[in-house]
Assembly symmetry: C2
Homo-oligomer: 286 residues x 2
């Protein structure tokens, strides 16, 4: 019988356990979380077979351990978790920054580390927001180890397919981090800055909230997902690219002031490009 | 029998005609658009009783004329439309910037101009995207004229309530423009800049598109709505506030580089604030 430990029973870890429970009823799932309430919720939902803290979890009995905590603790616990697993087992993760995590994974030789990043999320957190359908149709980026004699990469891909992913995509960690800079981390930082602007708007803030329509809601949704920030902070491309985005916004402000007709043409072109992009459908929890 | 002319049969004008058709079947709706296809679509959908170009439309027979075109042409046509209406009739609009529009409205004395701005939209354009339920539950900002002996403001409010709005909010044009700076125009410019960054990402752009999850989709949705740009270009608060947003983003980038722990705390606080905001529900076309 396959045994999986899921470390971190938040939105991602909780959704992974719920979806694997449905698609792989034979797999035994050990749920690991510091928060007893998260473990209780997951047990009550039937998402896991047993709950434990990391110190109490029998990681040595598991075939696969999936790290689903926020980025910084994930990076820190990785070597310690690997050490406690059985030799040759599979360690994997869900972090949105892959270079530094995969470096840490490659440094140890006890287990096979396969980096993974499911491209899915909502602005809600915790097991309460988890859903068996969160990964339905999503893409999962996979960073395979340099040597993989036991087919660990194939097993991790198969797990994500079982969890609902439509596609897995092999990608080098640095290429991944540069691409998610544009796909996820810059959108997140822009959203957070827009929220910050509104909060700092003084007298105008209350009326701005009353007048906020769907545009504000959607533009800033990602700002509610604090975990993306952790990944952005581990992404070496971020400081420079965020400064470039800041410069782009400033140039746009100057152009609106100086030559609004040209600025509007450019914004119209961007609107057209945006509409032409094929983007994932809106997630509807089942 | 009440007669209304709706000038511009795009998303907003089209949705207004569809919703008034349902709630006020006795009202005769004249649909005005330069594009014959938009007029045909609106006629076929039963949204309007007759279609015409602006030059051909009998504006002098209408009790209310609603300007629903993009911002710049709206500002330009306003005096010309007012001139052709019957004295004392009601002229109103839907533009997302109110100071300059209301100034133009107050300059003429032939009709009563009531500024309005429904806080609703989607990234899709044109009559094809219009929906009878677009305004359901939304707030409409209303800028009443200095003198309003005939109760024009009440009639415009009543029209929006009939169109589905949950609330109308009296607001001074300058206060409106400053509030929508934060509620709508900065989110829009941030979204457009994020799209621009992705398009300029060179080698990383293709993979970034493949890895774009819901976060990118939602953050940039507003960038697909080119009409917000027109309103932003008429908003005198925009150049300075967009530069301030650019500066805020730059400071965040610097802090992530210099002191990631503090940056993450701050981002976590923003995430909490964002989740605490009461924002409008997601619009579902019926």
């Amino acid at each position: 019988m396959e045994r999986i430990a899921i470390v971190g029973l938040g939105l991602i870890g909780g959704s992974l356990s719920l979806s694997l429970r449905r698609s792989r009823p034979q797999t035994r799932i050990l749920g690991v979380d510091v928060d007893p309430r998260a473990r209780e919720q997951a047990l009550e939902a039937g998402a896991i077979d047993a709950g434990a803290t990391l110190d109490d979890a029998a990681l040595d009995t598991c075939d696969i351990v999936v790290l689903c905590t926020p980025a910084q603790p994930l990076l820190e616990m990785l070597p310690r978790v690997a050490e406690r697993m059985k030799a040759g087992a599979i360690l994997t993760d869900v972090c949105g920054a892959k270079e530094r995590i995969c470096e840490a994974g490659a440094k140890q030789r006890r287990v096979v580390f396969v980096g993974a990043h499911p491209m899915a999320g909502t602005e809600f957190r915790g097991f309460g927001a988890a859903s068996a359908t969160l990964f339905n149709g999503c893409t999962v980026a996979i960073c395979a180890p340099a040597t993989d004699e036991r087919g660990a990469t194939a097993q991790v891909k198969s797990m994500w397919t079982a969890a609902g992913a439509a596609k897995t995509l092999d990608v080098d960690p640095a290429r991944h981090d540069r691409a998610v800079t544009f796909a996820s981390h810059l959108p997140y930082l822009a959203a957070a800055s827009v929220v910050d602007s509104l909060l700092a708007a003084g007298d105008a803030a209350a009326l701005a909230r009353d007048l906020a329509a769907g545009g504000f809601r959607d533009t800033t949704r990602l700002a509610g997902d604090g975990t993306v920030g952790g990944a952005a902070a581990l992404n070496r491309f971020i400081p420079d690219e965020a400064r470039a985005l800041s410069q782009r916004l400033r140039a746009l402000a100057d152009e609106i002031e100086r030559d609004p007709v040209r600025a509007l043409e450019r914004l119209g072109d961007l609107a057209d490009e945006r509409r032409r992009m094929r983007l994932p459908p809106v997630h509807r929890p089942s």
